[in-house]
Symmetry: C2
Subunit: 165 residues, 2 copies
DNA sequence: TTAGAAACCGCAATTATATTGCGCAACTTT
DNA sequence: AAAGTTGCGCAATATAATTGCGGTTTCTAA
């Protein structure tokens, strides 16, 4: 059984940072920028994927061009917070394609949903026929996104951080 | 000046859907799945990128493994909503690496921020020394994410939708 | 400290992809 | 129907991704 590096060194951080910024960068470029040759670079990427540091790669698609003019964050309150009821709700959410993200929250509300819709009408239909119609949903507070002024992928990665351990 | 296809056909939608799901899929696979040969598939991808349908590609990094144990959504209210003041705030936000997303909202609050931090302590420092210290910030309502139960990239793409136009 | 193991690196060879240059067919536009 | 346009696929070429190995540095533990 091969030992698995737990601590990331400067090179790993550089790779993660580059891939977070440009997920389709070639391994050759990745290697050049990281200062090592292609083979070990590829091996590192594979290792980072297998160790779970990299959960996947995704193209960032423009919602408006695909017909989604409206983005909304909705705070959801449930009537019951029993484990089974929460899971029931999560399951339901999973089946709704217009809901892109679902975060369980502490205090205030129970869930924060990010929803995309063609327009306000489609959103209203979603709320009326899906959300409100769902059992256990107590209240829905809608917050319309007027403009997203910053959206960086994932996490900040300090490439120059001092290696620990 | 080359004409640019505006309407997406089934093949384009398939490509977008596949790349949204797996941003590092090879062009060969993309082509195979779309039912066309590699060259035209690559040309379509380039066209989709240039037309802005694809804004970029990003690796999805696991926050916890990078030391970010805490994710928070914060609702921010400003004292002044004058255009200049809003922009001032957005600029500030841009410079804070722990803020990954900033959405301007209608009603309720002025902005919704998604923030990642090593721990609660680091977040508190962020709020005290950056957010609250910033001019024009009136109030901050923090919502801690306990668990993200769904996070799909971007938008729903119905590959089988009927072509319009 | 020192032999052996472990973790990594880079070179060189091989396989797979990405890219380009064209000619062809379908579809429009006069 | 001639001419222009758009998009496809084949074939050739240029790049990239992978694999197999030998060599080096770093640990480990006797």
């Amino acid at each position: 059984m091969p030992t698995r590096r737990v601590k990331l060194d400067r090179i790993d951080r550089r790779i993660l940072d580059d891939l977070q910024e440009n997920g389709r960068m070639t391994n050759v470029d990745l290697a050049r920028r990281a200062g090592i040759s292609a083979p070990p670079c590829l091996r590192r990427v594979r290792a980072l994927e297998e160790a779970g540091f990299i959960r996947g790669y995704h193209a960032d698609i423009a919602p408006e061009l695909l017909g989604y003019e409206l983005t909304v964050f909705a705070l959801i309150g449930l009537s019951s917070q029993a484990k089974a009821d929460l899971q029931k709700f999560e399951q339901l959410v999973e089946s709704w394609p217009e809901v892109r993200e679902c975060h369980m929250l502490a205090g205030e509300a129970d869930f924060l949903l990010k929803v995309v819709a063609e327009n306000w009408d489609a959103y209203k239909t979603f709320v009326d026929e899906r959300l409100t119609a769902a059992p256990n949903v107590n209240h829905v507070k809608t917050m319309q996104v007027l403009q997203t002024t910053k959206h960086r992928p994932g996490v900040p990665i300090d490439v120059d951080a001092v290696d620990e351990e």
